[in-house]
Symmetry: C2
Subunit: 428 residues, 2 copies
Amino acid sequence: MRKVKVGLIGLGTVGSGVVEIFARHREEFRRHAGVDVELTRFCDRDTARASALGLADSTFTDDYTTIVNDPEIEVVIELIGGTGIARTVVLESLRAGKSVVTANKALLASFGEEVMETAHEKGVDILFEAAVGGGIPIISPLKHVLVANEITKVMGIVNGTTNYMLTRMAEDGLDYATALSEAQAKGFAEADPTADVDGLDAAAKISILASIAFNSRVVMSQVPAEGIRSITPADIEYADQMGYTVKLLAIARRVDGCIDIRVHPTLIRSSHPLASVGGVYNAIYVVGDSVGETMFFGEGAGSLPAASAVVGDVIEAARHLQSGCLGLIGCTCTDSLRVRDIGELETAFYIRLRVADEPGVLAATASVFAEHGVSLASVIQKLAEGGEAELVYVTHDAAESAVQAALAKIGANEDVHEVGTVLRVEEL
Amino acid sequence: MRKVKVGLIGLGTVGSGVVEIFARHREEFRRHAGVDVELTRFCDRDTARASALGLADSTFTDDYTTIVNDPEIEVVIELIGGTGIARTVVLESLRAGKSVVTANKALLASFGEEVMETAHEKGVDILFEAAVGGGIPIISPLKHVLVANEITKVMGIVNGTTNYMLTRMAEDGLDYATALSEAQAKGFAEADPTADVDGLDAAAKISILASIAFNSRVVMSQVPAEGIRSITPADIEYADQMGYTVKLLAIARRVDGCIDIRVHPTLIRSSHPLASVGGVYNAIYVVGDSVGETMFFGEGAGSLPAASAVVGDVIEAARHLQSGCLGLIGCTCTDSLRVRDIGELETAFYIRLRVADEPGVLAATASVFAEHGVSLASVIQKLAEGGEAELVYVTHDAAESAVQAALAKIGANEDVHEVGTVLRVEEL
């Protein structure tokens, strides 16, 4: 057993988890996995972090090039995040012939091709299980166990912050602002929650999953993302009455040789495996032509869960180094499927209208949908305050353009006071 | 890319799925996975199966030694099942220096050590993802992504037949016999359902999972198994009223440096991720010290789901052959943890009594539990027919021996007409 020396760059939440796991289990890695991996150097801009973790001064540097240029280090863990210095660190490490383990979803979602190609040229490993779903095994299962499948769909709850908020809104009727404050107070949401609540974090993750599942590169800028700011407790309640749960879903489908990919709040049948995934948990649902439906569930964030995936990758890289099979699986984006525009989407819709409590409004609005070829699956009418009623429709699959045209005409009806929330419905 | 020739022995349900997947996707395996795998020889005792699958006569044999002795074949797929001829086929193939892919849970659960050691001696792969959970990735995640964890618990619904029956009993109030007949009519249960309904199939599977998760060999004969024959719709209904769902669970825990392992019908909180897994679906719930809770869900049986896992393993073996890293992960049973006797178990219990509808029976029975140090968590009393009542207790964690002693004394009370179903409760 030869020792594999590892450099760790980035001592934040996940980095400190990695240090903790090595401290706890390094001996077991030798005995159980047959690899002798050692964290030999640590880097962070913030010197205080090293001492907080009890790391020896001699092993710490605030200059990442010390690690990239260390000839003894064979594996670099990049946990800086983002597409700035992290990109440089990853590319320079690969070019120096080191394998890289990273949790950096943003980097892979925007510069995946560059990173994968560089690793391929140098014949080293680039592993990133922690980039999606924290500790949940999903990248490796897609590249290994499920590889015999044509994957037709990958759909997931990949953002714990918004799932926590929607769960609280559903269970206790909190409004969006209160749910956000509570998530921030508990440390589940950042002070600036944009990346989470506007679906950008989920968009990065689904672009990575889709690239692997469909063997065709999708970059984050190709993923339309809509967040949860417009969701009200009333929508969640109406959805529930109709048998649906509201989740922020990241959805990627193979449709007619193209890729349909998007992130948006979605009504999903309450009996669907994803519907009961609550709180900060994540889950990724995968459908393959042979395996059928599968789902992978767990903690999608947090120091130790993400570090679990990072260290798993480090051990994998060490096994490959030891067995002389570095780069065992490289880039799998061998096809070039077209990414469809969201305007091409046909899906079912949930539509909430505030209308005058007058006879004939339901008939009038329903007939506008019919005129536009939008067929209705269910409707709820409920008295609101001040002589108003709420009308909630769920349509069958319809073209987005037809629904928008119908809503424009409905909005012009003077008895319709507001076209409220419009949400997509998955697997009606 | 060099061609890897594969021999397939056993053309039953899973074997025909393997043939179908290769027919559908062999070209994609070259493009996406970078391996050129070809099924070159097929073997079954039943010659008719080959023609039913449209296989050329020249590729078919009813003598497995033709495949084991074929020097061109590098990977043998064993899908005969059982521990008779299948054991010989697997061992002879390994000894001939071929990698083996198998779905044979019985073989691995009883002769795992022999099989793993033979593969290790010859430096070849033995892969068996399909042995547990059909197409669900679980063996590979335990050996790869989750390898940095100390796994504390593996618990699953690993038998689709009994899960289908319990789901039908819960949803439509069917009794055991009716649920079984229905499962048989739908092809979900065998004519002789013993292996499924008595928990033996689940016992084989949990012994494999525990061996990997705890790095310590557990053989099937060490797993106490209790099936679902005694479960009534009334038990399921009482459990539901108390917030529990009845599932046949295969449970393995790491407790005080020992392994607690068993299969039995179990009450589990209806909010637990396993509780909502219905019908023929399987799910395996894994807890690790870093990753926390994870769950793997999907179709646990059936031709194509199991074949999906088999072909995934074949592609993995081909990658290893091509990269020269055969036997990348061998046997991981490096420790020797003691397997505890079920008598050492402390758990919560569900106990149903049929009693005389007289004052004082509840007090009398409750006080017997108290005398034996068995603390009660909840109770339901319900009038039955003929001047009888039903008393349903759920206890806190208690020693099995204390509960049995209390029940012996309670059974001797003349107002207690029957000590009915006694079930264990997991995660009270």
